[in-house]
């Protein structure tokens, strides 16, 4: 019986995701080795792979040639697996320049959904900072620009909406993390026509489930899940604990995939953006953006299991 329910669910999910990936035009041209599952971002005309790539710490490597090469290899694996969204910020040291280096080396500007942030308390500084970031990336314009950590959000949002209007960026968003300032974020989501919010969501940080995710659905806002592994703390905590045998039912080959599948199976999450220094990890992460994804019952089981470890 359980098996029948699962099959029907899987069939339904496959049909839905197929519908999603055919109904909406693909983001960019090139055909990847693998096709990750995508989800349409509400309120926009795009669909994004369920797993993207973060760059905090991992891509802040200065101009070290060996480490730049390693980061380029991570990006190469990411694009080869059909990856699209890379997230960065002027707060991340040399990460933006590292991404620019990789995009140029891989000739991948057309493949990336370039996601960056504005992070300064000075309104005047904002547009200069965005221009410097754009040069670092080597892109003609950003696909998504977000106000980082709600810093000077009123002024910056006004500027970003004006830039969107002028066609200088495609989408506008705002970010927080570690569960901070959710009340303010909620207010901003209600009052402003955002395309995206970025917040921390994973199997142990689920605060967003109660109000922000339903609100995102109601308002047609895409949600990017940051800190999927709590900057690896979660993986370190779980790695010596047994993966439940039923993880095989969702094809989760390890804890990283278990966590990612939990995150992206929430229907209101557009994508998760794990960061990594390793090409094998990026492959593992991208491979999590695939059927079967857990349904609501399985998701509860996953939470219970992790909570009781």
């Amino acid at each position: 019986m359980a098996h029948r329910t699962l099959s029907r669910r899987r069939l339904l999910q496959s049909m839905l995701s197929l519908a999603a990936s055919t109904a909406v035009p693909a983001l960019h041209g090139d055909i990847p080795e693998q096709t990750p599952l995508k989800r349409k971002v509400p309120g926009t005309d795009i669909q994004l792979p369920l797993v993207g790539l973060g760059s905090w710490i991992t891509f802040n490597v200065g101009n070290d040639p060996a480490l730049l090469k390693q980061c380029t290899a991570v990006m190469e694996a990411f694009f080869a697996m059909g990856g699209c969204m890379i997230d960065s910020s002027p707060m991340y040291g040399t990460s933006q320049a590292t991404i620019g280096h990789g995009l140029e080396a891989l000739d991948a500007v057309k493949q990336v959904y370039a996601t960056d942030k504005v992070w300064t308390s000075s309104h005047e500084e904002g547009s200069k900072q965005i221009e410097a970031s754009r040069r670092d990336w080597g892109v003609s314009r950003f696909d998504l620009l977000q106000v980082h950590n709600l810093v000077a959000w009123e002024e910056h949002l006004e500027m970003l909406f004006a830039m969107k209007e002028a066609g200088e960026i495609r989408h506008v968003g705002i970010t927080t993390s570690h569960g901070r300032r959710h009340d303010t974020l909620e207010r901003i989501m209600r009052d402003h026509p955002l395309d995206f919010v970025q917040l921390t969501y994973n199997i142990v940080d689920r605060e967003a489930e109660s109000r922000l995710l339903p609100l995102a659905r109601e308002r047609g806002i895409g949600v990017i899940a940051n800190r999927p592994f709590q900057r690896k703390r979660l993986i370190r905590y779980l790695e010596d604990k047994p993966l439940p045998p039923w993880a095989a039912d969702i094809d989760a080959g390890g804890w990283a995939q278990f966590i990612l599948k939990f995150i992206v199976s929430h229907p209101d999450i557009s994508c998760a953006i794990p960061a990594t220094t390793r090409a094998d990890h990026v492959r593992e992460n991208m491979a999590a953006a695939a059927e079967p994804l857990p349904d609501a019952t399985m998701r509860r089981r996953m939470v219970d299991y992790v909570q009781n470890l």
Binding site: N60, V61, G62, A66, M91, G93, T94, R180, T277
Partner: protein, 226 residues
């Protein structure tokens, strides 16, 4: 940012680079500067000699050399190499420049006298300088970086700060001693904290040197006036 926001961070969240990148910083720097390390060691040995057999001219030259080293490290290491991966370093650079200016002022004013007779503060001062010159670069080996990642006196901030702490505690003038003590001590505290947050081995070394330099300054009877 209110207090609840700060408490949601963990100490490790405050660092924006990894241990691997930090260690590679020294490896690449050493490669770029080679063989300046040998020159720096010779300079360090000359300074040590001047500290052990101080004359007015020699002490003056010690301060000139240290001032130049603080300026060099501020520009070539901190600003050009470290600041791009650590945004906080931009606030340390002016302090390094201030220290260079203080040392230059010290040299110009005829250099305050050093203690000539052995006492606790002179022993600790010479010990700290010796550590900075010889032991500190060698620590890279047991700490797993290898000599290629060694931190060399006059070229990198930690041994320079430790050496300067050594010289500062040997000064007879209490005012100058404290004035030249402050920035190196702050740097050592910041560096120890950084290494601790990076989970690096040797985080306690810069912290211990500050503790020793403090002992040298405040231990009753630790400073003998000849």
């Amino acid at each position: 940012m209110d207090i609840s926001e700060w408490t949601s961070y963990r100490p490790g969240d405050l660092l924006m680079f990894s241990l691997r990148v930090y260690e590679r910083l020294f490896v690449l720097y050493n490669q770029a500067l080679w063989p300046a390390q040998l020159l720096a060691l010779v300079l360090g040995a000359a300074i040590l000699f001047a500290l052990l057999r101080p004359t007015s001219l020699r002490v003056r030259l010690v301060f000139v050399a240290l001032a130049l080293a603080w300026g060099f490290v501020a520009w070539v290491f901190l600003w050009q190499r470290y600041a791009p991966i650590n945004l906080g370093i931009r606030y340390a650079v002016p302090l390094f420049v201030l220290q260079a200016l203080l040392l230059a002022l010290c040299a110009m004013k005829g250099a305050p006298e050093l203690q000539r007779r052995w006492c606790l503060s002179r022993t600790i001062g010479v010990g700290l300088f010796l550590h900075a010159l010889v032991l500190h670069p060698l620590l890279a080996v047991p700490f797993g970086r290898g000599l290629a990642g060694a931190e060399v006196f006059a070229l990198t901030p930690d041994p320079l700060a430790i050496a300067t702490l050594g010289v500062a505690v040997m000064l007879r003038s209490s005012w100058w001693s404290w004035a030249l003590w402050l920035v190196p001590a702050l740097w050592c505290l910041a560096s120890g904290l950084t290494l601790y947050l990076l989970d690096a081995r040797g985080a306690s070394v810069p912290l211990l040197t500050v503790a020793l330099a403090l002992v040298a300054r405040v231990w009753p009877g630790g400073r003998r006036h000849d």
